[in-house]
Amino acid sequence: MSDTRTLSRAGGLARFKGANNEGVLALVLVVLIIGMTIISPSFFSVGTFFAILRSSIVPLVFALAVLIVIISGGIDVSFAAIAIFAAYTAVKLTGSGNFDPGLIAIVLFACLIGALLGLVNGAVIARFRLSTLIVTLGTQGIFRGLLVAYIGSRYIADLPGSMSAVSTSNLISLEGGGANAYLHVLVVPVVLLCVLVALMLRKTMFGRGIYALGGDMEAARRAGFSVVRIQIALYVLAGVLAALAGVFHVILGRNANPQDLVGTELDIIAAVVLGGASIFGGRGSVLGTVLGVLLVQLINNSLILVGVPTAWQRTAVGVLLVIGVGIQAISAKRESKRVLVNDEVKE
């Protein structure tokens, strides 16, 4: 049958593509970098590379939080609200920089707040089996409101010493030749988080449970997974990750502003979906997410370099999101056709 040949060709292609289109994404990244270098030769430098990494720090941690929620078949739009709530509250508690309990205490405190807010999301979603989008839309409004009403609405310029010390620490500093390049120290915890989340997803029953939930919730229940416990735990984890992202954001920006991070949700969700996570749940990888975040950051950066007005960045990210979802929908359709063909071959 002529179909078998196309099948095996598709098989070779599939290996390159990776389970979640990671190969395609890597290819797009490379093409984009080459294209940018041709347009503007100064683009291709260690400095640019480090700058893109730095700008990816906060989005990447957010993306990890969004990734686990999306794999479980949900969607979270409250992560930015949780992040700034946790980070701002932690900084505020230091008396706006006057009292310094140490970096670790601040981070732990922020994580605790993130976990609590995530627990609210998870408990409501798991207990009442409500739509995750609606619940997190609601809670993000509640969290933002509570923050401004009860914690504070003022911009805090002075961070405690232990935090501002990190702000200016670089892992690698290359100076001289007129081109200075700095790699911020915060990439270390981010890489660590990526590895941890990847291991958690692949090697623990909790991680497999998240995939199982996203694949078929009823089947997960029948297989003996505690669906409620997994859902609550994963939203708590997403809350903790969001809080960490919030703290990193405050450290990088060297100030705490309760109005920050509003409207960054789209970029993150777009990056995760571009990274191959299925909006229908059950699919997604940390590697794909990292590539997705880098792609979005690269586009945001490179558009400035070639002189495209910043307003168009939003448009570009929006277009990317639609393309990412479109690819998923089309490949899902092809997939169902391929199953049909397989059946015929067997007969």
Binding site: M205, G215, G224
Partner: protein, 506 residues
């Protein structure tokens, strides 16, 4: 049949026995005084029409529901009721109709995951668990690609994956809920081969089915339920097709060939010439007259469904001509087909043909809004409600009223709503793909009666099916499709079961 190697229990003591189980929901009795005994190495067929209490009994055995009365014995030890984890620990596994697999995970992981969950393990290693999956697949002599995602498997392979999963959890009792509904003949044969292997391992199987031949062919013991009441139990050899139907429906159902010979008009209502779709079928030609029921049959993948899909514009033809009442029509889209007077009831009645959350009334009218218009914009509400009423009564849809959501209906009734939807359009030609798949014997007879009635009213009816008895009972003529070509046309007395089966598989 004796088991060569029963794993536990003395011979004669049933692995699982339920006695006098009763269960009611609210005031409605779902089960009353039902008993069942499963022997190691035996296949026990549980038969009955939809709503007879089969699923409730399965739920009680698997621990999903608690019985109101009665006892459950495992290896002779009494348990008042089961919990899901207890049932799994005792080796009771249910293979649901939808298989309950994870479409996004690989075959290997699907096979082992449940047993890892049951061990209360915190970590998961794909590598360490793989040998267990490999072992079971090899033992059953299957060719499953362990690394493939389950969503890319055929239905039959999904089922095999579910069976492997049950065995990895050391199942002693496997309950299969309607296991053959979505399978073709060769796949069913393969499944039965595996069932025999399971018997040899000493597994007790429960086969829930309403396909009678299969029940008679595969089982050693048989239990029939009707309206929640235990009608009869006994060795399968004591039953035949006729007595089975009688016990299931409580009446004698006529399954003999019942066709009328319509006065054929000279001009066919549908005339197809050298119709081809590359990769699916080629040079298909046939005529269909008013009042005629024409069967199209063949194995899955023979192109039988694609012919109908092409005539309905889902899969536009590459070449060939289609005439409706002598007029040539070009069918490039579903709209074209509907305008030409062709209706199609798809194979997967639940997902392709209905809006499950909407009411029966909305569903009936959904395909024929154009026929119920007053002026260019408004709907003629009087005409709409009279159409709905007429079809609701004519098709005897069992529902409290026309506003009930379709999701609340049983399979047979849902199928009737799909039929009603197409009849509301008053098509000249109605094509039905597997019109009675997943429908019980009683409803099947009624659906076929509706088709005869519609043909009698002057419609041309095309039935695409691989249910041979159904084709024999209802079709005037049967086209046999093999590898994308019509290889034979049976007519009159030539339409019989053996002839069709031989030609299909030849």
């Amino acid at each position: 049949m004796t088991s060569s190697n029963p794993p536990t229990g003395q011979p004669g003591v049933p692995v699982l026995e339920v006695r006098n189980i009763s269960k009611s929901y609210g005031g409605a009795k779902a089960l009353e005084g039902v008993s069942l005994a499963l022997q190691a190495g035996h296949v026990h067929c549980l038969a009955g029409e939809n709503g007879c209490g089969k699923s409730t009994l399965i739920k009680i055995i698997s621990g999903a529901e608690r019985p109101d009365g009665g006892e459950i014995f495992i290896d002779g030890k009494p348990h008042p009721f089961m919990t899901p984890s207890q049932a799994i620990k005792e080796g009771i596994q249910v293979i649901y109709q939808d298989f309950s697999l994870f479409p996004n995970l690989t075959v290997a992981e699907n096979i082992v995951l449940t047993s890892v969950v049951a061990k209360r393990s915190k970590v998961f290693s794909a590598g360490k668990n793989r040998p267990a999956a490999e072992h079971i697949v090899k033992e059953l002599g299957l060719t499953l690609d362990l690394d493939k995602d389950v969503e890319r498997l055929s239905v039959a392979d999904k089922q095999l994956t579910a069976i492997c999963r049950a065995l990895v959890s050391e199942a002693r009792v496997i309950i299969m809920d309607e296991p053959t509904t979505a399978l073709t003949h060769s796949e069913v044969a393969r499944l039965f081969g595996i069932v025999r292997k399971l018997q040899d391992r000493g597994v007790a199987l429960v086969f829930v089915s309403h396909k009678l031949e299969e029940a008679l062919q595969v089982s050693q013991d048989l239990t029939i339920l009707r309206n929640g009441i235990h009608v009869v139990s006994g060795p399968t050899t004591g039953f035949d097709r006729r007595s089975l139907i009688k016990h299931m429906t409580g009446r004698a159902v006529n399954e003999t060939r019942l066709i009328t010979s319509p006065q054929l008009e000279e001009r066919p209502v549908l005339s197809v010439r050298s119709l081809s779709v590359s990769g699916a079928f080629h040079d298909v030609a046939f005529d269909l007259h008013r009042g005629e029921i024409l069967g199209i049959t063949g194995l899955l993948g023979s192109g039988r469904s694609e012919i109908a899909e092409s005539l309905f514009g889902v899969l536009p033809a590459d070449s060939g001509t289609v005439e409706v009442e002598g007029k040539t029509v070009r069918i490039r889209s579903i709209d074209d087909a509907i305008r030409a007077g062709i209706g199609y009831v798809p194979e997967d009645r639940l997902t392709q043909g209905l809006f499950l959350e909407k009411s029966i009334a909305d569903n009936i009218i959904a395909g024929s809004v154009d026929k119920h218009r007053r002026g260019p914009i408004l709907l003629d509400s009087g005409k709409v409600s009279s159409s709905i009423r007429r079809l609701f009564d004519q098709l005897r849809i069992k529902a409290p009223n026309v506003l009930a959501p379709v999701r609340s209906l049983s399979g047979g009734n849902a199928q009737r709503v799909v039929l009603a939807k197409w009849l509301a359009n008053q098509p000249k030609v109605l094509m039905l793909n597997g019109p009675t798949v997943g429908v019980d014997v009683g409803s099947k007879e009624e659906i076929l009666a509706v088709l005869r009635e519609q043909a009698g009213n002057g419609m041309g009816v095309l039935v695409i099916s691989d249910d041979v008895p159904e084709l024999v009972t209802v079709c005037n003529r049967v086209l046999i499709v093999r590898q994308g070509a019509v290889v034979d046309v049976l007519e009159g007395d030539a339409v019989n079961g053996t002839a069709i089966e031989e030609l299909m598989a030849a």
